[in-house]
Protein backbone atom coordinates (compact mmCIF):
# COMPACT_ATOMS: atom_id res chain seq x y z
CA UNK A 1 0.00 0.00 0.00
CA UNK A 2 1.59 3.26 -1.08
CA UNK A 3 0.15 6.67 -0.32
CA UNK A 4 0.73 9.90 -2.20
CA UNK A 5 2.74 11.29 0.69
CA UNK A 6 4.24 8.90 3.22
CA UNK A 7 6.07 9.88 6.35
CA UNK A 8 7.77 6.60 7.24
CA UNK A 9 8.82 6.02 10.84
CA UNK A 10 10.51 9.36 11.22
CA UNK A 11 12.69 10.03 14.24
CA UNK A 12 14.26 13.37 14.90
CA UNK A 13 16.88 14.18 17.51
CA UNK A 14 18.42 17.62 17.87
CA UNK A 15 21.98 17.87 19.12
CA UNK A 16 24.39 15.10 20.03
CA UNK A 17 25.70 13.35 23.10
CA UNK A 18 24.35 14.17 26.56
CA UNK A 19 22.60 17.37 25.40
CA UNK A 20 20.65 15.63 22.65
CA UNK A 21 16.87 15.98 22.75
CA UNK A 22 14.61 13.55 21.03
CA UNK A 23 11.85 15.61 19.45
CA UNK A 24 9.99 13.09 17.34
CA UNK A 25 9.69 9.37 17.88
CA UNK A 26 8.39 7.09 15.19
CA UNK A 27 6.06 9.46 13.36
CA UNK A 28 4.30 7.42 10.69
CA UNK A 29 1.73 9.17 8.52
CA UNK A 30 0.12 8.57 5.14
CA UNK A 31 -1.63 11.27 3.15
CA UNK A 32 -3.75 10.67 0.08
CA UNK A 33 -3.83 12.88 -2.99
CA UNK A 34 -6.23 15.79 -2.56
CA UNK A 35 -6.51 15.31 1.17
CA UNK A 36 -6.51 18.18 3.65
CA UNK A 37 -4.65 17.06 6.75
CA UNK A 38 -4.08 19.04 9.93
CA UNK A 39 -1.51 18.36 12.60
CA UNK A 40 -2.55 19.67 16.00
CA UNK A 41 -0.82 19.60 19.35
CA UNK A 42 0.42 21.78 22.17
CA UNK A 43 3.25 24.15 21.45
CA UNK A 44 6.62 22.46 21.60
CA UNK A 45 5.26 19.06 20.59
CA UNK A 46 7.23 19.04 17.37
CA UNK A 47 4.40 19.51 14.91
CA UNK A 48 6.33 22.18 13.05
CA UNK A 49 9.30 19.85 13.01
CA UNK A 50 7.21 17.30 11.11
CA UNK A 51 6.27 19.95 8.58
CA UNK A 52 9.84 21.16 8.20
CA UNK A 53 11.00 17.60 7.63
CA UNK A 54 8.43 17.14 4.86
CA UNK A 55 9.50 20.50 3.43
CA UNK A 56 13.09 19.27 3.48
CA UNK A 57 14.20 22.19 5.63
CA UNK A 58 15.18 19.69 8.33
CA UNK A 59 16.69 16.25 7.87
CA UNK A 60 15.31 13.17 9.54
CA UNK A 61 17.49 11.35 12.05
CA UNK A 62 16.04 8.06 10.87
CA UNK A 63 13.08 7.31 8.66
CA UNK A 64 12.10 8.86 5.36
CA UNK A 65 9.57 11.01 3.54
CA UNK A 66 8.24 9.65 0.26
CA UNK A 67 6.24 11.88 -2.07
CA UNK A 68 4.64 10.46 -5.21
CA UNK A 69 6.94 7.46 -5.18
CA UNK A 70 10.18 9.37 -4.62
CA UNK A 71 12.11 9.94 -1.45
CA UNK A 72 12.56 13.61 -0.62
CA UNK A 73 15.27 14.92 1.66
CA UNK A 74 15.92 18.41 0.29
CA UNK A 75 13.57 21.38 -0.12
CA UNK A 76 11.93 21.77 -3.48
CA UNK A 77 9.13 23.50 -5.34
CA UNK A 78 6.99 20.34 -5.28
CA UNK A 79 6.47 21.04 -1.54
CA UNK A 80 5.86 24.75 -1.24
CA UNK A 81 5.51 26.26 2.20
CA UNK A 82 3.20 28.96 3.58
CA UNK A 83 5.25 30.29 6.47
CA UNK A 84 3.68 31.46 9.69
CA UNK A 85 5.07 34.96 9.37
CA UNK A 86 4.46 35.12 5.60
CA UNK A 87 8.21 35.53 4.88
CA UNK A 88 7.66 37.77 1.90
CA UNK A 89 10.78 39.50 0.67
CA UNK A 90 10.23 43.12 1.73
CA UNK A 91 12.31 44.55 -1.10
CA UNK A 92 10.09 43.00 -3.78
CA UNK A 93 6.58 44.04 -4.75
CA UNK A 94 3.66 41.66 -4.29
CA UNK A 95 3.91 40.71 -7.96
CA UNK A 96 7.68 40.20 -7.84
CA UNK A 97 7.45 38.05 -4.73
CA UNK A 98 5.19 35.62 -6.56
CA UNK A 99 7.07 36.06 -9.83
CA UNK A 100 10.31 34.99 -8.16
CA UNK A 101 8.70 31.66 -7.28
CA UNK A 102 6.97 31.28 -10.65
CA UNK A 103 10.00 32.18 -12.73
CA UNK A 104 12.17 29.79 -10.77
CA UNK A 105 9.68 26.92 -10.93
CA UNK A 106 8.48 27.26 -14.52
CA UNK A 107 11.56 28.52 -16.33
CA UNK A 108 11.74 26.59 -19.59
CA UNK A 109 8.24 25.17 -19.11
CA UNK A 110 6.25 28.35 -19.64
CA UNK A 111 7.03 31.42 -21.73
CA UNK A 112 7.68 34.74 -20.03
CA UNK A 113 4.23 35.96 -21.01
CA UNK A 114 2.58 32.80 -19.67
CA UNK A 115 4.48 33.12 -16.43
CA UNK A 116 3.39 36.76 -16.02
CA UNK A 117 -0.19 35.72 -16.74
CA UNK A 118 0.07 32.96 -14.16
CA UNK A 119 1.40 35.31 -11.48
CA UNK A 120 -1.56 37.62 -12.04
CA UNK A 121 -4.01 34.72 -12.07
CA UNK A 122 -2.81 33.33 -8.71
CA UNK A 123 -2.85 36.74 -7.11
CA UNK A 124 -6.38 37.27 -8.45
CA UNK A 125 -7.37 33.95 -6.93
CA UNK A 126 -6.39 35.08 -3.42
CA UNK A 127 -8.03 38.46 -3.99
CA UNK A 128 -4.81 40.44 -4.23
CA UNK A 129 -5.07 41.45 -7.91
CA UNK A 130 -5.51 45.07 -6.87
CA UNK A 131 -2.19 45.37 -5.04
CA UNK A 132 0.32 43.97 -7.53
CA UNK A 133 2.76 46.84 -7.25
CA UNK A 134 2.56 47.34 -3.50
CA UNK A 135 5.41 46.35 -1.22
CA UNK A 136 4.80 44.04 1.73
CA UNK A 137 5.16 46.87 4.24
CA UNK A 138 2.33 48.72 2.51
CA UNK A 139 -0.29 46.00 2.98
CA UNK A 140 -1.97 44.48 6.05
CA UNK A 141 -0.98 41.26 7.78
CA UNK A 142 -3.89 39.37 6.26
CA UNK A 143 -2.98 40.58 2.80
CA UNK A 144 0.64 39.56 3.31
CA UNK A 145 -0.48 36.06 4.17
CA UNK A 146 -2.71 35.99 1.08
CA UNK A 147 0.35 36.79 -1.00
CA UNK A 148 2.28 34.10 0.89
CA UNK A 149 -0.46 31.62 -0.02
CA UNK A 150 -0.44 32.82 -3.63
CA UNK A 151 3.31 32.36 -3.80
CA UNK A 152 3.04 28.81 -2.51
CA UNK A 153 0.10 27.91 -4.76
CA UNK A 154 1.71 29.48 -7.83
CA UNK A 155 4.41 26.83 -7.72
CA UNK A 156 1.73 24.17 -8.31
CA UNK A 157 3.14 22.00 -5.56
CA UNK A 158 2.32 18.34 -5.13
CA UNK A 159 1.68 19.10 -1.51
CA UNK A 160 1.06 22.48 0.06
CA UNK A 161 2.61 22.85 3.51
CA UNK A 162 1.16 25.42 5.86
CA UNK A 163 2.88 26.22 9.14
CA UNK A 164 0.28 27.87 11.40
CA UNK A 165 -0.63 30.05 8.44
CA UNK A 166 -3.24 32.13 10.27
CA UNK A 167 -1.61 32.18 13.70
CA UNK A 168 -0.43 35.79 13.46
CA UNK A 169 -3.79 37.18 12.27
CA UNK A 170 -6.74 38.61 14.15
CA UNK A 171 -9.82 36.41 14.51
CA UNK A 172 -11.93 38.02 11.77
CA UNK A 173 -9.16 38.08 9.21
CA UNK A 174 -8.32 34.52 10.14
CA UNK A 175 -11.90 33.34 9.55
CA UNK A 176 -11.96 35.11 6.22
CA UNK A 177 -8.72 33.54 5.08
CA UNK A 178 -9.78 30.09 6.25
CA UNK A 179 -12.86 30.38 4.02
CA UNK A 180 -10.65 31.40 1.11
CA UNK A 181 -8.33 28.46 1.67
CA UNK A 182 -11.33 26.09 1.77
CA UNK A 183 -12.63 27.52 -1.48
CA UNK A 184 -9.26 27.37 -3.23
CA UNK A 185 -8.58 23.87 -2.01
CA UNK A 186 -11.94 22.62 -3.28
CA UNK A 187 -11.33 24.36 -6.63
CA UNK A 188 -7.80 23.07 -7.15
CA UNK A 189 -7.93 19.83 -5.19
CA UNK A 190 -4.54 20.43 -3.56
CA UNK A 191 -3.02 18.05 -1.10
CA UNK A 192 -2.51 20.11 2.03
CA UNK A 193 -0.62 19.48 5.23
CA UNK A 194 -1.32 22.16 7.83
CA UNK A 195 0.12 22.67 11.29
CA UNK A 196 -2.20 24.47 13.69
CA UNK A 197 -3.05 24.85 17.34
CA UNK A 198 -6.56 26.11 16.64
CA UNK A 199 -9.16 23.38 17.20
CA UNK A 200 -11.93 25.07 15.19
CA UNK A 201 -9.61 25.70 12.31
CA UNK A 202 -8.54 22.08 12.26
CA UNK A 203 -12.09 20.68 12.36
CA UNK A 204 -13.45 23.14 9.84
CA UNK A 205 -10.76 22.70 7.21
CA UNK A 206 -9.53 19.13 7.52
CA UNK A 207 -10.40 15.73 6.19
CA UNK A 208 -8.32 14.23 8.96
CA UNK A 209 -6.77 15.63 12.09
CA UNK A 210 -3.51 14.24 13.39
CA UNK A 211 -3.21 14.79 17.13
CA UNK A 212 0.30 14.77 18.50
CA UNK A 213 1.31 13.77 22.01
CA UNK A 214 3.44 16.11 24.07
CA UNK A 215 7.17 16.22 23.62
CA UNK A 216 9.90 15.37 24.14
CA UNK A 217 9.80 12.33 21.91
CA UNK A 218 6.39 13.30 20.59
CA UNK A 219 4.53 11.02 18.28
CA UNK A 220 1.10 10.66 16.72
CA UNK A 221 -1.44 10.10 19.48
CA UNK A 222 -4.59 9.68 17.49
CA UNK A 223 -5.97 10.39 14.04
CA UNK A 224 -9.50 11.73 13.77
CA UNK A 225 -11.42 11.43 10.53
CA UNK A 226 -13.73 14.41 9.97
CA UNK A 227 -16.64 13.02 8.04
CA UNK A 228 -18.45 16.24 7.28
CA UNK A 229 -19.57 17.07 3.73
CA UNK A 230 -17.70 19.81 1.92
CA UNK A 231 -18.06 22.68 1.33
CA UNK A 232 -18.52 23.46 4.98
CA UNK A 233 -20.26 26.61 6.11
CA UNK A 234 -18.74 28.24 9.15
CA UNK A 235 -22.13 29.43 10.45
CA UNK A 236 -23.97 26.17 9.80
CA UNK A 237 -21.18 24.26 11.55
CA UNK A 238 -21.68 26.18 14.77
CA UNK A 239 -24.97 24.37 15.34
CA UNK A 240 -23.97 21.11 13.72
CA UNK A 241 -23.98 18.28 16.25
CA UNK A 242 -21.38 16.24 14.40
CA UNK A 243 -19.06 19.20 14.09
CA UNK A 244 -19.32 19.87 17.77
CA UNK A 245 -18.71 16.23 18.49
CA UNK A 246 -15.46 16.29 16.49
CA UNK A 247 -14.50 19.49 18.16
CA UNK A 248 -15.07 17.95 21.58
CA UNK A 249 -13.00 14.92 20.57
CA UNK A 250 -10.02 17.06 19.75
CA UNK A 251 -10.42 19.13 22.88
CA UNK A 252 -10.65 16.00 24.99
CA UNK A 253 -7.45 14.68 23.49
CA UNK A 254 -5.61 17.94 24.03
CA UNK A 255 -6.87 18.85 27.46
CA UNK A 256 -7.60 15.55 29.18
CA UNK A 257 -5.27 12.97 27.81
CA UNK A 258 -2.36 15.18 26.83
CA UNK A 259 -2.46 18.23 28.96
CA UNK A 260 -0.18 21.09 28.11
CA UNK A 261 2.95 20.38 30.15
CA UNK A 262 3.18 24.06 31.07
CA UNK A 263 -0.36 24.30 32.44
CA UNK A 264 0.20 21.11 34.39
CA UNK A 265 3.20 22.60 36.13
CA UNK A 266 1.34 25.79 36.98
Amino acid sequence: MTSYLSIEHVHKTFGEGPTATEVLRDVDLHVERGEFLSIIGHSGCGKSTVLNIVAGLLETSTGAVILDGKEVSKPGPDRSVVFQNHSLLPWLTVRDNVALAVDKTFKGKKSAAERREWVNATLDMVGMGHALDKRPDEISGGMKQRVGIARALAMEPKVLLMDEPFGALDALTRAHLQDEVMRIQSDLGNTVLMVTHDVDEAVLLSDRIVMMTNGPAATIGEILEIDLPKPRERLAMADNAEYNHYRAEVLRFLHERHKNPESEAA
Binding site: A55, G56, L57, P75, G76, P77, R79, S80, V81, F83, N85, S87, L89, P90, W91, L100, A101, K104, T105, R135, P136, D137, M155
Partner: protein, 311 residues
Protein backbone atom coordinates in the same frame (compact mmCIF):
# COMPACT_ATOMS: atom_id res chain seq x y z
CA UNK B 1 42.36 56.19 14.77
CA UNK B 2 40.86 55.03 18.03
CA UNK B 3 38.37 57.81 17.53
CA UNK B 4 37.61 56.41 14.11
CA UNK B 5 36.68 53.08 15.63
CA UNK B 6 34.46 54.70 18.19
CA UNK B 7 33.09 56.77 15.39
CA UNK B 8 32.37 53.59 13.50
CA UNK B 9 30.36 52.02 16.25
CA UNK B 10 28.57 55.22 17.09
CA UNK B 11 27.70 56.06 13.53
CA UNK B 12 26.67 52.47 13.05
CA UNK B 13 23.86 52.93 15.49
CA UNK B 14 23.09 56.43 14.39
CA UNK B 15 22.99 55.42 10.73
CA UNK B 16 19.99 53.25 11.37
CA UNK B 17 18.29 55.87 13.43
CA UNK B 18 18.94 58.93 11.42
CA UNK B 19 16.59 58.25 8.50
CA UNK B 20 13.72 57.76 10.90
CA UNK B 21 14.45 61.02 12.67
CA UNK B 22 14.64 62.87 9.40
CA UNK B 23 11.41 61.28 8.28
CA UNK B 24 9.49 62.50 11.30
CA UNK B 25 10.75 66.02 10.79
CA UNK B 26 9.89 66.24 7.10
CA UNK B 27 6.89 63.95 6.86
CA UNK B 28 4.39 66.35 8.47
CA UNK B 29 5.38 69.03 5.94
CA UNK B 30 4.79 66.66 3.05
CA UNK B 31 1.53 65.38 4.45
CA UNK B 32 0.08 68.76 5.10
CA UNK B 33 0.92 70.06 1.66
CA UNK B 34 -0.94 67.18 0.06
CA UNK B 35 -4.60 68.27 0.61
CA UNK B 36 -4.52 71.41 -1.60
CA UNK B 37 -2.98 69.38 -4.43
CA UNK B 38 -5.81 66.88 -4.19
CA UNK B 39 -8.55 69.50 -3.96
CA UNK B 40 -7.39 70.74 -7.39
CA UNK B 41 -9.66 73.58 -8.49
CA UNK B 42 -10.21 74.89 -4.96
CA UNK B 43 -7.67 77.65 -4.32
CA UNK B 44 -5.29 76.96 -1.46
CA UNK B 45 -6.65 78.72 1.60
CA UNK B 46 -4.34 81.06 3.50
CA UNK B 47 -4.33 78.73 6.49
CA UNK B 48 -2.45 76.09 4.51
CA UNK B 49 0.17 78.58 3.42
CA UNK B 50 0.78 79.95 6.85
CA UNK B 51 1.04 76.43 8.19
CA UNK B 52 3.48 75.54 5.46
CA UNK B 53 5.56 78.60 6.26
CA UNK B 54 5.53 77.77 9.93
CA UNK B 55 6.67 74.22 9.24
CA UNK B 56 9.48 75.49 7.01
CA UNK B 57 10.46 77.96 9.69
CA UNK B 58 10.71 75.29 12.38
CA UNK B 59 13.14 73.37 10.19
CA UNK B 60 15.23 76.25 8.87
CA UNK B 61 15.29 78.70 11.74
CA UNK B 62 17.17 76.78 14.46
CA UNK B 63 20.33 76.09 12.42
CA UNK B 64 20.30 79.65 11.04
CA UNK B 65 20.03 81.14 14.51
CA UNK B 66 22.69 78.89 16.00
CA UNK B 67 25.11 79.52 13.13
CA UNK B 68 24.60 83.26 13.32
CA UNK B 69 25.18 83.17 17.07
CA UNK B 70 28.36 81.13 16.59
CA UNK B 71 29.70 83.54 13.96
CA UNK B 72 28.93 86.46 16.19
CA UNK B 73 30.92 85.00 19.09
CA UNK B 74 33.79 84.20 16.76
CA UNK B 75 33.71 87.75 15.35
CA UNK B 76 33.78 89.21 18.84
CA UNK B 77 36.58 86.96 20.06
CA UNK B 78 38.74 87.61 16.98
CA UNK B 79 38.18 91.36 17.15
CA UNK B 80 39.57 91.57 20.66
CA UNK B 81 43.13 92.68 21.26
CA UNK B 82 45.86 90.13 20.69
CA UNK B 83 43.64 87.78 18.70
CA UNK B 84 45.66 85.58 16.35
CA UNK B 85 42.94 84.06 14.20
CA UNK B 86 41.02 86.09 11.62
CA UNK B 87 37.41 87.05 12.22
CA UNK B 88 34.74 85.74 9.82
CA UNK B 89 34.42 89.16 8.18
CA UNK B 90 38.19 89.22 7.74
CA UNK B 91 38.13 85.74 6.18
CA UNK B 92 35.55 86.78 3.62
CA UNK B 93 37.44 89.94 2.65
CA UNK B 94 40.79 88.12 2.42
CA UNK B 95 39.46 85.22 0.37
CA UNK B 96 36.92 87.06 -1.76
CA UNK B 97 38.97 86.38 -4.90
CA UNK B 98 39.01 82.67 -4.13
CA UNK B 99 35.29 82.59 -3.40
CA UNK B 100 34.15 84.33 -6.56
CA UNK B 101 36.67 82.65 -8.89
CA UNK B 102 36.57 78.96 -8.02
CA UNK B 103 37.67 77.88 -11.49
CA UNK B 104 40.75 79.98 -12.28
CA UNK B 105 43.86 78.17 -13.46
CA UNK B 106 47.24 79.91 -13.28
CA UNK B 107 49.13 76.70 -13.83
CA UNK B 108 50.91 74.41 -11.38
CA UNK B 109 49.35 74.37 -7.93
CA UNK B 110 47.85 77.83 -8.38
CA UNK B 111 44.32 76.81 -9.34
CA UNK B 112 40.84 77.69 -8.04
CA UNK B 113 39.25 76.06 -5.02
CA UNK B 114 36.91 74.04 -7.22
CA UNK B 115 39.87 72.40 -8.95
CA UNK B 116 41.54 71.73 -5.62
CA UNK B 117 38.42 70.04 -4.30
CA UNK B 118 37.85 68.13 -7.52
CA UNK B 119 41.41 66.81 -7.43
CA UNK B 120 40.80 65.54 -3.89
CA UNK B 121 37.42 64.13 -4.84
CA UNK B 122 38.99 62.29 -7.75
CA UNK B 123 41.47 60.55 -5.46
CA UNK B 124 38.70 59.74 -3.01
CA UNK B 125 36.54 58.42 -5.85
CA UNK B 126 39.24 55.98 -6.99
CA UNK B 127 40.21 54.85 -3.53
CA UNK B 128 36.63 54.60 -2.31
CA UNK B 129 35.43 52.73 -5.41
CA UNK B 130 38.17 50.14 -4.91
CA UNK B 131 37.28 49.91 -1.22
CA UNK B 132 33.59 49.36 -2.05
CA UNK B 133 34.29 46.53 -4.46
CA UNK B 134 36.92 44.82 -2.32
CA UNK B 135 35.12 45.57 0.95
CA UNK B 136 31.77 44.13 -0.10
CA UNK B 137 33.53 41.14 -1.66
CA UNK B 138 35.53 40.39 1.47
CA UNK B 139 32.52 41.15 3.68
CA UNK B 140 30.43 38.59 1.80
CA UNK B 141 33.24 36.05 2.11
CA UNK B 142 33.67 36.63 5.84
CA UNK B 143 29.92 36.74 6.40
CA UNK B 144 29.29 33.52 4.50
CA UNK B 145 32.17 31.33 5.56
CA UNK B 146 32.95 30.63 9.18
CA UNK B 147 36.40 29.44 8.15
CA UNK B 148 37.13 32.69 6.34
CA UNK B 149 35.86 34.64 9.31
CA UNK B 150 38.08 32.78 11.75
CA UNK B 151 41.05 33.23 9.45
CA UNK B 152 40.57 36.83 8.40
CA UNK B 153 38.83 38.52 11.29
CA UNK B 154 41.88 38.79 13.61
CA UNK B 155 43.86 40.24 10.72
CA UNK B 156 41.14 42.79 10.02
CA UNK B 157 40.80 43.72 13.66
CA UNK B 158 44.50 44.49 13.89
CA UNK B 159 44.90 46.21 10.53
CA UNK B 160 41.88 48.46 10.93
CA UNK B 161 43.48 50.13 13.94
CA UNK B 162 46.51 51.24 11.89
CA UNK B 163 46.16 55.01 11.35
CA UNK B 164 45.69 56.02 7.69
CA UNK B 165 48.89 58.04 7.49
CA UNK B 166 50.95 55.16 8.82
CA UNK B 167 50.22 53.42 5.53
CA UNK B 168 51.58 56.29 3.47
CA UNK B 169 55.34 55.65 3.70
CA UNK B 170 54.99 51.99 2.88
CA UNK B 171 52.63 52.70 -0.01
CA UNK B 172 55.00 55.39 -1.31
CA UNK B 173 57.72 52.77 -1.22
CA UNK B 174 55.54 50.25 -2.99
CA UNK B 175 54.04 52.49 -5.68
CA UNK B 176 57.01 54.88 -6.13
CA UNK B 177 54.49 57.62 -6.96
CA UNK B 178 52.48 60.01 -4.84
CA UNK B 179 49.06 59.79 -6.46
CA UNK B 180 48.58 56.00 -6.26
CA UNK B 181 49.87 56.16 -2.69
CA UNK B 182 47.19 58.67 -1.71
CA UNK B 183 44.55 56.52 -3.41
CA UNK B 184 45.83 53.49 -1.54
CA UNK B 185 45.57 55.33 1.77
CA UNK B 186 41.93 56.17 1.00
CA UNK B 187 41.29 52.58 0.02
CA UNK B 188 42.81 51.11 3.16
CA UNK B 189 41.01 53.64 5.37
CA UNK B 190 37.55 53.18 3.90
CA UNK B 191 37.59 49.40 3.48
CA UNK B 192 37.31 48.25 7.13
CA UNK B 193 33.85 49.52 8.04
CA UNK B 194 32.59 48.25 4.67
CA UNK B 195 33.97 44.76 5.29
CA UNK B 196 32.75 44.61 8.86
CA UNK B 197 29.26 45.93 8.24
CA UNK B 198 28.76 43.79 5.14
CA UNK B 199 29.74 40.66 7.02
CA UNK B 200 27.43 41.54 9.92
CA UNK B 201 24.61 42.15 7.42
CA UNK B 202 25.19 38.77 5.77
CA UNK B 203 25.29 37.01 9.13
CA UNK B 204 22.03 38.64 10.18
CA UNK B 205 20.02 37.54 7.15
CA UNK B 206 16.76 36.23 8.57
CA UNK B 207 16.36 32.47 8.58
CA UNK B 208 12.94 33.06 6.98
CA UNK B 209 14.54 34.40 3.82
CA UNK B 210 17.03 31.57 3.80
CA UNK B 211 14.14 29.11 4.04
CA UNK B 212 12.32 30.83 1.18
CA UNK B 213 15.46 30.57 -0.90
CA UNK B 214 15.79 26.88 -0.05
CA UNK B 215 12.17 26.07 -0.91
CA UNK B 216 12.49 27.95 -4.20
CA UNK B 217 15.83 26.23 -4.72
CA UNK B 218 17.62 29.42 -5.71
CA UNK B 219 21.14 28.77 -6.97
CA UNK B 220 24.16 30.60 -5.60
CA UNK B 221 23.95 33.51 -8.00
CA UNK B 222 20.21 33.95 -7.55
CA UNK B 223 20.59 33.76 -3.78
CA UNK B 224 23.33 36.39 -3.91
CA UNK B 225 21.36 38.86 -6.04
CA UNK B 226 17.79 38.22 -4.89
CA UNK B 227 18.24 37.57 -1.17
CA UNK B 228 21.69 38.27 0.16
CA UNK B 229 22.40 41.70 -1.31
CA UNK B 230 18.98 43.22 -0.64
CA UNK B 231 18.77 41.70 2.84
CA UNK B 232 22.22 42.94 3.80
CA UNK B 233 21.86 46.27 1.99
CA UNK B 234 20.95 48.37 5.06
CA UNK B 235 24.08 47.14 6.83
CA UNK B 236 26.23 47.50 3.74
CA UNK B 237 25.10 51.08 3.30
CA UNK B 238 25.83 52.05 6.87
CA UNK B 239 29.32 50.67 6.23
CA UNK B 240 29.56 52.63 3.00
CA UNK B 241 28.50 55.77 4.80
CA UNK B 242 31.10 55.41 7.52
CA UNK B 243 33.64 54.54 4.81
CA UNK B 244 33.06 57.70 2.80
CA UNK B 245 33.39 59.78 5.96
CA UNK B 246 36.71 58.15 6.86
CA UNK B 247 37.96 58.48 3.28
CA UNK B 248 37.29 62.19 3.29
CA UNK B 249 38.97 62.52 6.68
CA UNK B 250 42.06 60.75 5.41
CA UNK B 251 42.46 62.56 2.10
CA UNK B 252 43.33 65.92 3.68
CA UNK B 253 46.07 64.42 5.79
CA UNK B 254 47.42 62.34 2.94
CA UNK B 255 47.49 65.28 0.53
CA UNK B 256 49.36 67.44 3.02
CA UNK B 257 52.21 64.96 2.73
CA UNK B 258 52.14 64.12 -0.97
CA UNK B 259 51.71 67.69 -2.29
CA UNK B 260 50.36 68.67 -5.72
CA UNK B 261 46.86 69.90 -6.45
CA UNK B 262 44.33 69.00 -3.77
CA UNK B 263 42.57 70.60 -0.85
CA UNK B 264 44.91 69.02 1.69
CA UNK B 265 48.03 70.46 0.18
CA UNK B 266 46.21 73.76 -0.36
CA UNK B 267 45.75 73.98 3.41
CA UNK B 268 49.37 73.08 4.07
CA UNK B 269 50.53 75.58 1.48
CA UNK B 270 48.37 78.33 3.01
CA UNK B 271 49.81 77.53 6.43
CA UNK B 272 53.35 77.88 5.09
CA UNK B 273 52.39 81.22 3.52
CA UNK B 274 50.63 82.26 6.79
CA UNK B 275 47.34 82.83 4.96
CA UNK B 276 45.04 81.83 7.78
CA UNK B 277 41.93 83.10 6.01
CA UNK B 278 42.58 80.70 3.14
CA UNK B 279 42.78 77.87 5.62
CA UNK B 280 39.47 78.82 7.20
CA UNK B 281 37.82 78.96 3.79
CA UNK B 282 39.31 75.56 2.89
CA UNK B 283 38.03 74.06 6.16
CA UNK B 284 34.54 75.32 5.41
CA UNK B 285 34.69 73.75 1.95
CA UNK B 286 36.09 70.48 3.31
CA UNK B 287 33.26 70.34 5.83
CA UNK B 288 30.60 71.08 3.26
CA UNK B 289 31.93 68.52 0.77
CA UNK B 290 32.18 65.92 3.51
CA UNK B 291 28.62 66.65 4.52
CA UNK B 292 27.36 66.30 0.95
CA UNK B 293 29.29 63.07 0.42
CA UNK B 294 27.68 61.64 3.54
CA UNK B 295 24.22 62.80 2.44
CA UNK B 296 24.77 61.41 -1.03
CA UNK B 297 25.59 57.94 0.23
CA UNK B 298 22.71 58.15 2.72
CA UNK B 299 20.26 59.12 -0.03
CA UNK B 300 21.46 56.37 -2.34
CA UNK B 301 21.23 53.97 0.60
CA UNK B 302 17.68 55.01 1.48
CA UNK B 303 16.65 54.68 -2.12
CA UNK B 304 18.22 51.27 -2.59
CA UNK B 305 17.03 49.85 0.74
CA UNK B 306 13.51 51.31 0.60
CA UNK B 307 11.12 48.83 2.10
CA UNK B 308 13.75 46.49 3.49
CA UNK B 309 13.71 47.95 6.99
CA UNK B 310 10.07 47.14 7.59
CA UNK B 311 8.86 43.65 7.29
Amino acid sequence: MMSAIIDRTMTFGAGRERPAVRETSTAPVARQTAPPARSGAVPADPGVWSRRLRNAATVVLPPVIVTAFFLLIWEMLSSSQGAVLPAPSQVVTDTWELIVNPFYDHGGNDVGMAWQLLASLERVAYGYALAVVAGIGLGVLVGQSTWAMRGLDPLFQVLRTVPPLAWLPISLAAFQASNPSAIFVIFITAIWPIIINTSVGIRNISQDYVNVARVLRLNGYEYFTKIMLPAAAPYVFSGLRIGIGLAWLAIVAAEMLIGGVGIGFFIWDAWNASMLSDIVLALVYVGLVGFFLDRLVAIVGNWVTRGTQAG
